[in-house]
């Protein structure tokens, strides 16, 4: 988004979450935002969610995010990318940029699987005034470990330290 001629990279977490919740999208908050919920001190700049792959839910998610013009993050402009139910059904995980910030909509995550497998490992939280599901801390750690990305090592160490601190409380 542009403000006074500057490209602004601040993600409107509140609006993105509100749009999904108000459209009754079934989703689970994962990634850096979930880490913040659990007490992480690290800065995250996008919203990561795992969404249910049912046809109806995909339709709701497409409708919820459509006003923010989702486009493939990092892709050159002008690609024939259409934000539609058909597109989401033919793919799985999408890293997107929108007019209000970046969002990753994931059909599946490493070490965690699909929405239906993850949902029993969630806690219900109040996120910007909206009740939604967030991956619990042990599962968040397990999925990050399973992803095996070197850039996650510090984040995993922090999450495990948080888990130890919580158990010590």
């Amino acid at each position: 988004m542009l403000v006074n001629g500057w490209i602004v990279l601040v993600t409107d977490f509140k609006q993105l979450i509100a749009s999904l919740v108000e459209s009754d999208v079934e989703f689970i908050v994962v990634g850096g935002l979930a880490a913040t919920v659990h007490g992480s001190a690290r800065l995250t700049q996008d919203v990561d969610v795992v969404y249910s792959r049912s046809h109806e839910n995909i339709e709701r998610m497409v409708t919820a995010l459509a006003p923010f013009e989702p486009y493939l993050r990092g892709a050159p402009p002008g690609l024939p990318f259409e934000w539609s139910t058909a597109t989401i059904k033919s793919g799985l995980n999408f890293t997107l940029t929108t007019t209000i910030g970046d969002i990753d909509v994931l059909g599946e995550i490493a070490g965690g699987g699909f929405y239906d497998a993850l949902v029993e490992h969630t806690i219900v939280i109040d996120l910007f005034g909206h009740e939604c599901k967030c991956l619990d801390l042990p599962t968040l750690i397990a999925t990050k470990r399973a992803a095996g990305r070197p850039r996650d090592l510090e984040a995993i160490a922090e999450l495990e330290a948080l888990h130890e601190e919580r158990e010590g409380q």
């Binding site: 007490g39 090592l153 948080l162």
Partner: protein, 63 residues
């Protein structure tokens, strides 16, 4: 695939990273509510963005 959220075996690489974690920050965060943690994240993001823009203003050649 089922998530494996049982207690995981310590990973020596992660344990090495863990030594450098500032636990005082984590303890302070754990005293906060979820809403306070989120408000802090938003404030941090705005601060980072302002710092980035300030850096761009310095780098941008004057007309």
């Amino acid at each position: 695939m089922k998530p494996k959220s049982d207690r995981l075996e310590p990973d020596p690489v992660i344990e090495a990273y863990k030594k450098d974690i500032d636990r005082t920050l984590l303890r302070e965060n754990l005293k906060r509510t979820v809403a306070e943690r989120l408000a802090n994240l938003v404030a941090l993001q705005e601060l980072a963005e302002e710092a980035r823009r300030a850096g761009e203003r310095v780098d941008r050649p004057r007309d």
